[in-house]
Assembly symmetry: C2
Homo-oligomer: 505 residues x 2
């Protein structure tokens, strides 16, 4: 390895190391930290974020990137370098040139506005009072438009923001995928609603936390999560966090009257963790920017593949239903496999995104995508958000929020300035369906799952998706794995086959 490259690897490793330390502090904050320590923890995190930003924009990185031939036109550097070096340089150049363009005062102002915005959002949601949140949303939009202009003044701001979460995407490319999806989902929902609704009241039986914990641990382990390199804890909102390449932790939450919540959130986060645990950068590049997800959408494809495509499938429960019944005690006694399968796949328009089923979920995302595209471009004024939200909900789902808490105030994302994040959730479903189609050419997914041979499935994912980490852009990865660009048709086919069986049409 060239000395310049070695130095860059060392600098980037330090940046990642600081980010991992910050992850531990965030994890502790949500899991174990005493309540009185909140204010100090914010100071500690601010210090670490400052240190990480300093590492990311170290002028030495800029000099070394230039010395290795990296420019905006040639982000992977000198074409004579080996492919591993070029992959590393491309990712690092992307991070460096993004961070270095943000003025320090904008970074600080944004951090402050996020903190204020999130607190204001919590209060506004509690009181279901959008007007209390409105000035914060306006401020955050202004700051994010400014950030987008700094990062790339030649592009539309929303395009720049989307690219942060889904590298290579823009509003038009997402629209090309979402536009046909919208019609298909609406049509499928119509067919489902023409059939008698399935029964799921038996899923509301009280299930003690201990039994749910045992089930969570069982499914984590059986799916291949390496517990010597991770752990399970409890938080208000489940998440996965990477504290180190051998320390990927997940959390879940327990609702004693709705055990499906912990069951599927654990499988979902296990999917994220398996991706993180499976990244395998080339020798010499361990612990660098290559050990990261290809995008938020690809990350979400891994969690949703395990949660939905595997975790809500007939082959999976043909094998695992006896184990689940055994571990949950008598909660499911008298419930036949067929009823359970229908119950966990019930489709019904509902107001809250995070509680939505596989079919209506995409409509929730399309609503947010369209609204944030309009907000960032200025086509929609912040004061008109509640009315627009309610009208679009009625339009897409046929129901209307009774208040803003159950409508435009339900998600935390905008209060933290995360415009452009929402599409990833749906892209995850689409990628998952397309990847699974490719997987089926190499192995019989249903048979492997029915036999409990999840290692075969994980092995395929490790080889084809996890190992390369951030080395490929999402569209490159999709092409390499499936031979085609992302196409929502695979997801639509998957849903059609699955739900025609469940609802009998």
């Amino acid at each position: 390895m060239k000395p310049e490259l070695q130095k860059l690897v060392a600098l980037d490793r330090e940046r990642v190391l600081v980010a991992h330390i910050a992850s531990l502090l965030f994890w502790d904050q949500d899991t174990h930290m005493p309540s009185g320590a909140e204010e100090e923890r914010a100071e500690q995190l601010a210090w670490l974020e400052g240190a990480a930003h300093e590492k990311a924009v170290d002028p030495e990185i800029g000099n070394l990137l230039a010395a290795l031939g990296c420019t905006d036109e040639q982000p992977a550097g000198d074409p004579a370098l080996d492919p591993e070096a070029r992959a590393f340089l491309r990712v690092l150049h992307r991070i460096y040139s993004r961070e270095v363009k943000l003025p320090a005062d904008l970074v600080a102002e944004t951090a402050k506005a996020q903190s204020l915005g999130q607190s204001a959002w919590v209060r506004a949601r509690t009181d279901s009072d959008f007007s209390a949140f409105r000035p914060h949303l306006e401020r955050m939009l202004e700051l994010k438009r400014r950030a987008a202009a700094c990062m790339d003044p030649s592009r539309k701001p929303y395009d720049v923001l989307l690219d942060l979460f889904e590298p290579g995407s823009d509003e038009a490319s997402i629209r090309r995928v979402f536009d046909p999806l919208r019609g298909e989902l609406t049509a499928l929902l119509g067919r489902i609603r023409s059939r008698p609704q399935v029964e799921d009241s038996f899923l509301r039986k009280t299930c003690p936390k201990e039994a749910q914990t045992a089930a969570s641990r069982y499914f984590m382990e059986v799916l291949g999560y390496d517990l010597s390199r991770g752990r399970l804890d409890v938080t208000a909102h489940p998440f996965t966090t990477t504290v180190g390449r051998s320390d990927v932790r997940i959390t879940t939450r327990y609702d004693e009257n709705w055990f499906l919540s912990s069951l599927f959130s654990t499988i979902h986060e296990t999917g994220h963790a398996l991706y993180e645990q499976g990244m395998n950068p080339p020798a010499g590049y361990e612990g660098t920017c290559l050990a990261d997800g290809a995008s938020m959408g690809i990350h979400e494809s891994q969690s949703r593949m395990w949660e939905n495509v595997v975790g809500r499938s007939r082959p999976f429960w043909s094998r695992e239903y006896p184990a689940l019944r055994a571990v949950l005690g008598d909660v499911l006694s008298g419930v036949a496999l067929e009823s359970f399968l229908k119950g966990i796949n019930k489709v019904e328009p509902s107001l809250i995104r995070t509680e939505a089923d596989e079919v209506t979920y995409g409509l929730h995302i399309i609503l947010r995508f369209e609204m944030e595209a309009d907000l960032v471009s200025g086509r929609l004024a912040v004061r008109d958000v509640p009315a627009a939200w309610n009208a679009r909900t009625r339009d897409l789902l046929g129901i209307e929020p009774p208040n803003d808490a159950k409508g435009c105030l339900q998600d935390v994302h905008w209060s933290a300035g995360l415009f452009g994040y929402f599409p990833s959730y749906s892209l995850g479903n689409l990628y998952a369906a397309q990847f699974v189609q490719a997987m089926r050419k190499d192995l019989d997914l249903d048979d492997r799952v029915r036999d409990g041979d999840y290692a075969a499935v994980l092995g395929w994912l490790r080889k084809n998706i996890h190992a390369s980490g951030a080395a490929l852009l999402p569209d490159e990865l999709c092409l390499r794995v499936t031979g085609k660009p992302l196409d929502s048709g695979h997801f639509v086919d998957y849903l059609g086959r699955k739900y025609s069986e469940i609802y009998g049409f």
Copy 2:
């Protein structure tokens, strides 16, 4: 506050903040970290230690200290400054001038030798093979002699090392305290051994971990530990760690066949935590070096005061024995208060320091103090350690270790280069006895404890000892609180009164 002083406070706060972040990583390593993450955690901690050292020796600190008139002769700076500023400057000057004199390569070499030495010690203790540890101990002694020479070439190396843990002390001052103590403890032990031994086999009844946890939590809370600013976890070796001024965590360990272990280790660590939670630097100096213990010995006085002087006393159990019996279930059924009191105060020479009673504990420490004084000065060769250890154990305690694991390899301290640390443990007992004598002039300790009015005791400690933190040197604190320098007579009196009652002489 002068601008130079404000800058110094900000710089010192950053140093403390980094140390707190490192504390969280250490805590996590011992409590929750997955086993596979060991190597990465070591890298993360090394980075944080490097950052903390960098902060400690920032040349800007040196310039600002000089600008405020701090010199070795005038460590508290310009006499015209207010007392708070002078206390802060004295502590900071002490830290800065110590750290800045250590060459970077010596710091790095020592860190590496510590890591190697501790691993070698674990193996040597497992195999009970001193020869495998010998080269590491020799190396560590050499490094520590070099460090002492850098910090103060005009003093004997062991004096410099003692001063790190007990500011203001040296070998002669410790000897003045320990010499009479040795004779008194030996005489008291002789009197105790001439009497029939007390019974304690009923304390070995199996006690489930859950009951012990409940007892631990009960005693933490009842003694005034603020659980909104701390928490209790489980580790192999109990400790207290400060993650922030509002985040002081303790740990304990559970032995189902010896519940006294968790009971008294929890009360002990609670004592440390109450000290940390009670530090109260002057306004403007929060989160600086003033928010620290006056010394390791003073810290230990707080843990041992609660563990022994209060926690093993008749007034305490007169009040708490019913609560303990209730929370432990039937473990103590049929055991009278008198038997319990005698059982928990049984005195018997034993080989392992950490399991020693209040009387023989001091003899274990005197042995280590004398041995490390001889080792650092070169009067004792490392190869002669096992023979010397065994001879001195026979001499002091009348028993002899059957092997090195139960002899000179039992403690981790020397493998980590902690020469000069051991005396603090005994000094803690001595300070505690002397502080309690002073406390009794202001309040009736026995009555207050018998009434469960621990808040009165804690209030006295907060006002007289905790609040000042590191602002006073230990001998200054002792003089201010008790009117006299440290004198082992108070401890000897305390032991004599207590054990004449228990053993009836």
